[in-house]
Point group: C4
Chain length 241, copies 4
């Protein structure tokens, strides 16, 4: 129980950090798999990330059914989260966002690739999911499990996927990892745009990407987490709880 | 009476939000149609949006005549508002701004089009009004009803129009809707510029624009409104009053 | 005396505003002609604009000689100010800055021209002064009256001049006017860059520039000034004192 | 002893300033040579720059061995610092960062050169160190003295070096000098990008670079330092202690 409380606190902090670091604005969300039941996940009720409090965190079955909703309205796009937890036992946290610098890549088909070591965790490739391919004209939202599973399938074993005309989805082995990748996906996209304007870009080699990713441990991520907590006005806990 | 007070409070909040979100700087304004008399509208006296208080809100006839001015000087460009309320019974709120990312489109003739779902509310097309076409060399300001009506005519049934060498005008079905479109017109323009630099852009399809726009309800807009109120230091009221 | 005190207060406010609005960083300065003696001007001691207090304001003869320095060290580049007051009886305030968006124009020879009505006060043309033309390899600083006069000569009757590899200088009919032009020179340069990236730019016509400039009165500038005072944490005085 | 305390205080301030001015984010670090022993240097334990307190400052031998670590974990990349102090007796402070605007140059091979007088201190040339040249696929981190020495060798007698796919390293004759160059390397890179987009760039002449650099004294740097201290919420000491 104390463990669950700590995780809820961590999830609220993650929401505030994503807002403070410009990865989400009034929209976007972050979830974590339930620590005691891998068939459930925790996600806020429908609310802007920077406004979220502990009581907003709801519990969902993987198919998106709320457990004990108590009148709280869920996000329409919660199926992104459920479908990824369903497909990927290794995934413990999911971030969905409209991160500004990544959107131009999704609509032009340009590939985001790691341009500096901080971007290595986005993976060798960032695939682009286009909802139009299988679902035609929609409101672009992932509003049922079928769409969620289609996105999860395209994502495969990767950490990131762009969504054409919409945003991006990121997964991680825990909340801090997913937030870390989300922040540096945005930074990498911003820097890559500047570099592409200048000329031919020398991206990280495949070997470099692997070496950096294997070194991106909780130890390093926590250095950023302490800083982000301070910036977001949240207490820092060295241990994720 | 309480209803009018609440609406004035809402209008002050809208001004502060537009300033905080970078849609207006020291200039620009937002109005609402009078709740009890469709031939009148509410608009601040001539003041920078972020400085506006409840007592600054004035009442105007559609032709721009102040009702009970009590020494308060009106905006010169209030005719933008009156002309749109006159032409469009469906319009309940008007925003005029010099939103930075949209101005380059107005002076180059490049069309802003929805590039992601958050931009769908700007409409299929964002026409460009050039005051020079019918009025020649002016100070570019909409300083009488004739100019306002010319702008309203070009805008037609749309939600947005650029003004060459000047800025943009946005209308909505209520204050929050007009503010919402104004914010995402700016974001869409910013992202579209980045994408155009990269190559061929895949804009939302016409069907996607329609589907998203039909789903842009008060429910979704209120999620942003709560966040914007928090950022602007204003109390959030779930109901628009 | 009270008049002089009020002007000193205004000059301190101008420094703080220029810092807050991003026109100056740790360097750059703003002066005003002495209200009682046109052969003198007021300018801070050598200090970063956002740190300046009333006691830092010094008095100078037009040739840059400090009057009653009381141990305060002057800016090396004060000759910019003296040379312009000497050449231009109409000038009552001078701003020198390293405003970021204008510097790329100075080093590429691209002309900044009014792209929207807020930019009209920069004038029909913004000439580029290159210290190398008459002075060869220098530290690029205007460190004597000869260099100041060379700059003033190039500026002619205009309101603005770029300085190659250095920054810009702006003059106005009073402090608020010079600050206003400085802020919108930066904004105009930023927007023009975006527009030039997109394609052919339709600048304001010469007639439009004249009409807007003739309408840029204290009344309009004060709307911005109130907002800038609020943002800089300075009291707003409707009258310049 | 008081001298050492003052220098530790100065080093903490430098960390906070680099964070506030956007030169470092959660990563990056700044060191100073020990005032009493040129074979040692002072550097924080592994922590985000904006979180660093006096007690975090550790002492290291030039080869990176901590002196009296007291359980504090050092930065992995401290070898950058040791190698530069070893190779360069004139260097008293080292900054390593992932400054955003410089990274695109490192991955495209475009040369950063002084574009305005504030950028002259970066030097005539900013060489690019590619860890892949001598070390192949790595995590791109300078994690031993061999790599540090390779970087120091490439840097030669210069003040700056880019690191491909990683960031930059800057040295100075004292802490304030190294911070000053780091800030304006970022600004110069940002402005140069804008200028290169516009067309042919007229960089500072070699003579101008030398003249400006020779004039960049503690006196001028302190003007910025006071401002940066104010922005970072740190007390300003006119003397570096």
């Amino acid at each position: 129980m104390a463990k669950l409380d700590a995780l809820i606190e961590e999830l609220v902090t993650a929401n505030r950090i994503l807002a403070r670091e410009g990865v989400v604005d009034s929209f976007g969300h972050v979830s974590t798999r339930h620590p005691d039941d891998p068939r459930r996940y925790l996600l806020s009720r429908s609310r802007a990330p920077d406004c979220i409090e502990n009581d907003d965190i709801m519990e969902f079955a993987l198919d998106g059914t709320p457990i004990d909703a108590r009148g709280r309205a869920p996000y329409l796009e919660r199926f992104i989260h459920g479908a990824l937890y369903e497909a990927r036992p290794d995934v413990m946290s999911v971030v969905h966002n409209h991160s500004e610098s990544v959107i131009p890549y999704g609509v032009t088909g340009k590939a985001i690739k790691p341009i500096f070591h901080m971007g290595a965790s986005i993976g060798h490739d960032v695939p682009i999911w286009d909802s139009h391919d299988h679902f035609g004209d929609t409101a672009l939202l992932v509003e049922n499990m079928e769409m969620g599973r289609d996105l999860a399938k395209l994502m495969g074993e990767g950490a990131t996927a762009l969504m054409r005309g919409h945003g991006a989805t990121v997964v991680g082995r825990d909340i801090r990892h997913a937030v870390y990748i989300s922040v540096y996906l945005e930074v990498n996209a911003r820097l890559q745009k500047q570099a592409m304007d200048m000329g031919e870009v020398k991206f990280l080699t495949a070997g470099e990407v692997d070496k950096v990713a294997s070194r991106t441990t909780s130890y390093g991520i926590n250095r950023a987490w302490e800083n982000w907590c301070r910036r977001a006005g949240r207490p820092f806990r060295p241990d994720q709880g």
